[in-house]
């Protein structure tokens, strides 16, 4: 692949991380609110709730992976 403009690649990587972060945050806010609600009912839910809350964090990590691939694989 032709080496694209390094600046454009950096911007693309930034957009990937940023948008994925927003997506993950949207997922987490809903789960987090529900987890806090469940914890109010039963404090034992803390561990499970915390775990559930980090599940959408995958989305942010996918963004990071895309960014890393952009930066290190395409930016030869």
């Amino acid at each position: 692949m032709v080496v694209a403009d390094a600046g454009m690649i950096a911007i693309g990587a930034g957009i990937a991380v940023g948008l994925c972060g927003i997506g993950a945050a949207m997922g987490e806010q809903a789960i987090g609110a529900a987890a806090v609600g469940a914890m109010a009912e039963d404090e034992k839910f803390f561990g499970k709730g915390l775990l559930m809350t980090v599940i959408p964090e995958s989305i942010a990590i996918f963004g990071l992976v895309v960014a890393l691939i952009l930066l290190f694989v395409f930016n030869v």
């Binding site: 775990l51 980090v54 995958s58 990590i61 996918f62 990071l64 992976v65 890393l68």
Partner: protein, 657 residues
Amino acid sequence: MLRPTKMTRVVIAGTKDLMEPVISTFHNLNLLHITDYSEESETFKIGKPLKPASKMSEYLLSLRAISNQLGIKGEESKSTSKSRELKSRMDEKISTLQKEVSSRFDEMRNLEFKIKEKEDIVISIKPFFGLPLSLESYSGYGSVKVFTGYIDTDLEQQLLKITNKYELFTGEHEKRKIFALFIPIAFGDEVQKLLQDERSYSELKVPLLKGNPPIVLDGLSKEISALKQKYAETKAELQNIKNEYSEFIIAADEYLSIETMKAEAPLKFATSPNAFIIDGWVPSLKYDEMEKALQKNTGGLVHLAKIEEKANEEDIPVELENPLMAKPFELLIDTFATPKYGEIDPAAILFITFPLFYGIMLGDVGYGIIVTAMAYFIKNKFKTGGLNSLALILLLSGILSTFFGFIFGEFFGFPIFNMVVHGEMEHGLLGIAGPAIAGIHIPIHRFGEVQSLLLLTFAIGIMHIMLGLILGFRNQLIEHGLKHAILAKGSWMMILMGGVLAIAKLMPAVTSKLPVPTGDPVFIVGSLLAIVGLILLIAGEGFISILEIPTILSNVLSYSRILAIGLSSAGIALVVNTLSMDLFIRPHGILMGGGIVLALVGVLILFIGHLINLLLGILGPGLHSLRLQYVEFFTKFYEGGGKKYVPFGYKRKYTEE
């Protein structure tokens, strides 16, 4: 390891007169998981509690009330008592205790109430220090009405508009004006209205006492201190009782709990008018021990039978069995779900993978040592229970973090070894180049080797998922047979393996704009394998299963978090170090070049930054490592839904038979 303890179903039958020794034996053995009898029939009914049950629970109730009043709850005792002694003196001791404790407890409540009452009076007397009257002169008149209170305005002028027949005393209390007004009862209502309209007025009630306020106060203070002393004495007496009896109370509580449990055991049995039957599960290896003890204690008069017939898997209680080191990881299994009896218990696998993932994620010698030390401290503080298990898990994770920190060459984000960055030599803390172990040059810098480390995490992910699929294959094989196992799990293995082979050949071609490598044998084999897997999957689960293909890809990609979490933590550490060092502590490369204050600010930034990063570093890797287990690994084979093995019995701590 990997499998729950083997259980044997056992049925015990005997005549009712043997019920008590049988219950006692089982309770002491702490081995039998009793299955509740629930299908009542003509002949067999659910058993009734033994006679002492109600008496015992009564004792227990009073004892717990006493221990609450004495504040013994949750305390530990160092000695143990003999059950027989406890039993013989139970009645006498509990009734004495009840008398002694509750009378004193009531007295203390009473005293508290009195003290509060007197203290309230003291507060209400104090304002009247400002007026030259004794307390009895404020009340007891037939034709005179008395008003007392605070007021800021001049009352006299307004009063004169109503009448000139009055007596007004004024004074001051805590910088507020206070007054006492004596007025013929006929003007009472009018004055009342006047005062109500006055905003600064607030009423003061005069306590119904006699004498000069200072003298009364003096008397009251003496009374209060006498009451307080009495209170302290009673409290000390209670403390004495507590010291004397706490051992007894703790031991008796245990004894009574055990006796109540025993007396209520028949509620789980099937009983006819003259006989009883107990149905339960015992670890197979302990069956002989149980049989021997039972026959010895009943003179061989009860009948014991092993039931070999295949039981419903959900009914068999599950006891996890793992080597000592892997034991704490059972906590993580139980948090998810207890496995079914026939399933694999993955605690031993978690013992390896959880700390490994955690270690690679945190990967810093400094943080690793702190986590290890903290875990060691918690482990020693809590000897049993969930916190102890958690501490042990954290301890292993911390040790591995330190190990990987060495490999990555990081100490609180500072490089340990010398490295070449962008063609320039950067000096590490040790000032030497890293060693080469087995041909690999240490440090493997995480920022420098992102690409290869990313591939490594994918490789870890593929292996981990493959292991999950293999375990799933085994579970399916046991439960549903070979055909089902191949369709449900074998197909996924082929898709994963084939997909990996094909993509490994395809990716480099795509990135360098070469044609698809159709001639490459690895690519062909991989593609074929994936297609066969796909066909098997569709045959097994229908066309809808195509929708699940992307999940395997996202599962593998998900393992990139092993690198990503580490990078973000190392990134934060780097930012903190660069910020504090280059801007505050060592500006322009001169130590304290900006003065001592700037340097101190730098140290503060360094400390707070690393503290925050450490907290994130404990939480993040822990949760994400666990998530990889639960979401990516467990979903490939684990169902859960087993019943926990809870043997009938009790581990005595404070009593002996």
